[in-house]
């Protein structure tokens, strides 16, 4: 160890790894954004993803195809999201508490089912699980650096970025997204123009379940081809931090997700410097807090300068219009 310099860490494979590690976070982030825009802060992202991971493996084993796994995961997550929605929207339960409880149920349920269906504890890995294969993008993968960076990823990695664009289009460019966002911003306005706000909240939660299913599937059928208990390991919480940072806007939130993925990938490599592993693995979490802190500082700065400008105009102009 020891004589490793920084340039040996900042390699293409680091950025490729960052993309991989960011993918589940980005999926969960986009899902969370969808429900946040209907006014429900979904704290069950972690649990949804975990359920998705498990059922993806189950589906892959049962159907012998990763797409079958994806289908199982989607169905399971939609059911979980539906349970959340019914508890909150029909039975009027507190969404934060339901979300946190969902996470706990998800851990219990997946652990139990893991043992009950596959008769194993903790981790399930066999050749029966068929994962996704990396795809080489024709032409691009022949370009030297860019090819290595952009090509050769799992389909879901590409799809996570596509999903950001889709989420952006749906939320900001379609009437549906338009109505959906109005529910979160001013529910009275939405109601007054005849938007079925409850249905929109259902959509919000179901879409967040759907996208978490993709995130979970990525973890258990692409990133790895196995299921192990609690394998989401806090990525859902990181997604919440990303949403918080990006103020529910898809692209800035995605960037936050990439930052967290990068921190994760970097942490793995920093050990070569002889840094204690325990300290290094803190990095993504520490980064989250720091990112929140910096964004708060920046926001205040920007507001102050804006206000100074406005107040200057205010004072300069006569009192009466």
């Amino acid at each position: 160890m020891g004589n490793v310099d920084l340039s040996s860490i900042l390699t293409l494979s680091l950025f490729a790894a960052a993309l991989r590690m960011a993918t589940p976070i980005i999926f969960a982030t986009m899902g969370g954004i969808f429900s946040s825009h209907t006014g429900i802060f979904n704290v069950a992202l972690e649990g949804f993803m975990l359920i998705g991971s498990f059922f993806a493996v189950l589906g892959s084993v049962r159907t012998g195809s990763p797409y079958g796994g994806l289908l199982y995961a989607v169905i399971a997550c939609l059911v979980a999201a539906l349970v959340f929605a019914i508890l909150h929207l029909e039975l009027k339960a507190n969404p934060i508490i339901v979300g946190l409880a969902m996470n706990i149920v998800a851990i219990g349920l997946t652990n139990y089912l893991l043992t009950a269906t596959f008769n194993v504890w903790g981790v399930y890995k066999t050749d029966l699980i068929i994962g996704f294969q990396e795809v080489q993008i024709p032409l691009i993968h022949q370009i030297p650096i860019i090819g290595e960076l952009l090509s050769g990823h799992f389909p879901l990695v590409y799809f996570s970025f596509v999903s950001v664009y889709i989420v952006y289009l749906v939320l900001y460019k379609t009437p549906f997204g338009f109505h959906l966002r109005s529910v979160g911003e001013n529910i009275d306005a939405a109601e007054s123009i005849g938007v079925n706000t409850k249905r929109m909240k259902y959509y919000g939660l179901l879409v967040s379940g759907l996208l978490c299913a993709f995130g979970g599937t990525f973890l258990s059928l692409s990133y790895l081809t196995m299921f192990s208990e609690d394998m989401t390991a806090g990525r859902g919480w990181l997604a919440m931090a990303a949403i918080n940072f990006g103020r529910m806007r898809p692209v800035p939130s995605m960037i936050a997700g990439l930052i967290f993925g990068f921190a994760d990938a970097l942490a793995v490599r920093l050990q070569q410097f002889g840094l204690p592993s325990q300290i290094v693995v803190m990095l993504p979490y520490l980064m989250t807090v720091i990112v929140l802190f910096i964004s708060a500082v920046v926001a205040e700065r920007r507001k102050k300068s804006l206000v100074a400008k406005q107040n200057k105009i205010d004072i300069a102009t006569p009192l009466q219009p």
């Binding site: 160890m1 494979s13 194993v120 903790g122 890995k125 790895l224 394998m231 490599r269 050990q271 290094v280």
Partner: protein, 377 residues
Amino acid sequence: MKKVRFLVLGLLIVVLALSACTPQAAEEPVVEEPAVEEPVVEEPVVEEPEVEEVEEPVVEETEEEVVAEPPKIALVPAGRVGKEGYMFLAGQGYKMAAADFGFEERILESEVAEEWERNVRTAAQDGYEFIIGVGSTMADGIVNVSQEFPDAKFALVDANPGGDNVMGLIALEHEGSFLAGALAAMMTTETSLEGINEEKIIGFVGGMEVPSVVRWFSGFEQGAKYIDPDVEVKISYVGSFNDPAKSKELALAMFNEQGVDILMSVAGGPGDAGVFEAVEETGLYGIGADISWDDAVPGHVLTSVLKKTDVMIYETIASYIAGEFQPGEALFGVASGAMDLTDMSAMGDAIPQEVKDKIDEIKAMITSGEIVVERPQ
């Protein structure tokens, strides 16, 4: 109003009682006969072929004195007797002993740290006379309980907690991983094997920096240096025994960026699974630990260092039943056959015969004491 809530929740407990108590359970006499809890033995059914490497434990000659009453012996693993890992082997050894010596099985598995001591205690409270813990993390629990229950006997796989009624069953992991290190050092220059580079760099992924993992690593490094002092051994810790994603990422980083071509994994069951995924993806080579990982990625796992806890436990039970309980440390190393490599058959002809011969030679030297593998503190 405040009292109301209090009452309500008090009732909650009663309700649980009502719903949990079947008539039989309620009528069951509880304290006088602690053994009445018939263990409905429905342990996870295990596919035997999975563990074909487990050699039949050598049953020591036991005196044929048949004890009138079957002994009460419990197994308390610091984890689960699940499908993989040395806990599983421990469970196999225990079950075999139960079948051979005719006592009832009682395995108390745990999931979290708090349950280690609690399970030992539960066994002691229930009147078990010989309680076998598995996993060094149980040490404190064994110490605490053995002092409070001086009549019971205790044994612990992986550590010697000390005490008049306690024995420590120590597997010399470093001896086993010494063999693996030697093998890796020889193979890292074997460029005829696809993917092996010329650089003398091998790697080791550990779950967490805890004494047992450090022991594994130390032996591995010593073995490698014994073959060739120039071999560089890279090491990384995942920070967890059950984060396969991170294990895989670490392994990939070592393979792709640090010139490692052979990687030994001691990252816990889930963690190991992640590492071997990296092996599969890169087409390079891995070495497993505890149990056989040879079939995880056919043709890419050079060998696995077996820690035959089944042998250790079976022999310990046998000697206990023979009345030969000896407090203190009992060592199980290469010499006793408890630490060993797999036969490398999964690699086919990829490993040259002279390498295999060299390994056998080292094994013999360790057995005879010619090579002393240092045990890190």
